[in-house]
């Protein structure tokens, strides 16, 4: 049987349940707004009833800084140590860890990750600029809608597959952004 586990990494990992919200917030922490045009300073797991499920776990945050301002045109981000080239980030420093497991050893291919409006997978999230990168990438992908998804490398046969992803978002306008869903798709065989 196949199992998907999403985790917001931090000093203690927080499992993201199917009804949870990944909250990208401002410097003030949980529920703090992000200024229009700026990127998230903190990341949290919010339960379906509004509780801070990642409280006390010091969750990781990956803040987009620039697409090509780093060494040799690399993207840069801040994950707590100041602005760095994103290919310097370690697996443990990425915000998101997605694990795919199966009772039998399977290979994972055609793996993509993106944000959409929660209704139509080809549609970008509403009112938000969203970027993502796989650990080891040199540049972010504007992963909005399935047609612009982050392409994650194939993973050879194993019973457990870990994928480490940086995520960052910025509001294009004022107001809470709820037409904004993260989606991961893969083929296993």
């Amino acid at each position: 049987m196949a199992t998907y586990t999403w985790v917001l990494q931090g000093s203690t990992p927080t499992t993201i349940e199917s009804t949870d919200i990944v909250q990208l917030a401002g410097a003030g922490g949980f529920d703090d707004p992000v200024t229009v045009g700026e990127y998230n300073d903190t990341t949290h797991v919010e339960s379906s009833v509004g509780a801070n499920d990642s409280s006390g776990n010091t969750p990781n945050n990956n803040k987009f800084v620039s697409q090509s301002g780093g060494t040799g045109g690399d993207s840069t981000a801040d994950w707590g140590d100041g602005t760095e080239d994103i290919d310097a980030i370690t697996e443990a420093e990425c915000a998101l860890k997605i694990n795919f497991s199966h009772g039998s050893a399977v290979a994972v291919t055609s793996h993509i990750f993106y944000a959409y409006d929660g209704s139509t997978t080809t549609s970008a999230p509403t009112g938000v600029t969203f970027v993502a990168a796989e650990q080891g990438d040199t540049n972010f992908t504007g992963a909005e809608g399935s047609g612009s998804a982050l392409s994650i490398g194939d993973s050879a046969s194993a019973t457990s597959h870990d994928f480490y992803i940086l995520i960052s978002a910025s509001p294009d306008s004022v107001g809470e952004k709820t037409a904004f869903t993260l989606r991961d798709e893969l083929t296993y065989s």
Binding site: A27, T35, G37, E38, Y39, D41, K63, F64, V65, S66, Q67, S68, G69, G72, G73, D74, S75, D78, T83, D87, T90, E91, A92, A105, V106, A107, T109, T129, V131, G136, D137, T138, N139, F140, T141, G142, E144, S148, G153, D154, S155, A156, S157, A158, S160, H161, D162, S170, D172, S189
Partner: protein
């Protein structure tokens, strides 16, 4: 080799042998597109720059080239090293892909009316604001 990301060419080269078909000998980089290449469950590999990942815990991989199957052992990751590796070949491919991503991003941000330079400036303003808040808090504590 240890667990991590590699190109298909690097894996075939790690087998350290030539591949013979119908009396003709081919080097690793010559088999792609000519013969079946399957690496540990991943089929249809037609390009030497095809990147894939061996998950930690993988100790042996099976490589199929044409009708022959080869075994390749992976070394256990050294104690104390949690991070799986990214090979030099994989890094070069990722870097080339990154340039394409940057071009696509520039077009996307332009259509949103958000040039990249703006995000750098705003990040700096955000940091300046936070610094001012911290200084104000410190001044209050010192009183």
């Amino acid at each position: 080799m240890v667990a991590g990301k590699y190109t298909a060419l690097e894996v075939l080269q790690a087998l350290d042998q030539d591949f013979e078909f119908d009396g003709q000998v081919y080097e690793a980089e010559e088999v792609f597109g000519k013969f079946r290449v399957r690496i540990n469950g991943i089929a249809g590999i037609t390009k030497p720059e095809h990147i894939f990942r061996f998950q930690p815990g993988t100790e042996e991989i099976k490589v199929v080239v044409g009708n022959e199957t080869y075994d390749l052992d992976l070394d256990a990751i050294d104690d104390g090293v949690d991070e799986s590796t990214i090979s030099e070949g994989a890094k070069q491919v990722i870097e080339a892909q990154g340039k394409v991503k940057t071009e696509e991003m520039a077009a996307k941000m332009s259509s949103k009316g958000r040039p990249e330079a703006e995000s750098e400036t705003l990040a700096t303003k955000s940091e300046q604001r936070r610094l001012a808040e911290l200084e104000a808090q410190k001044a209050k504590e010192d009183e």
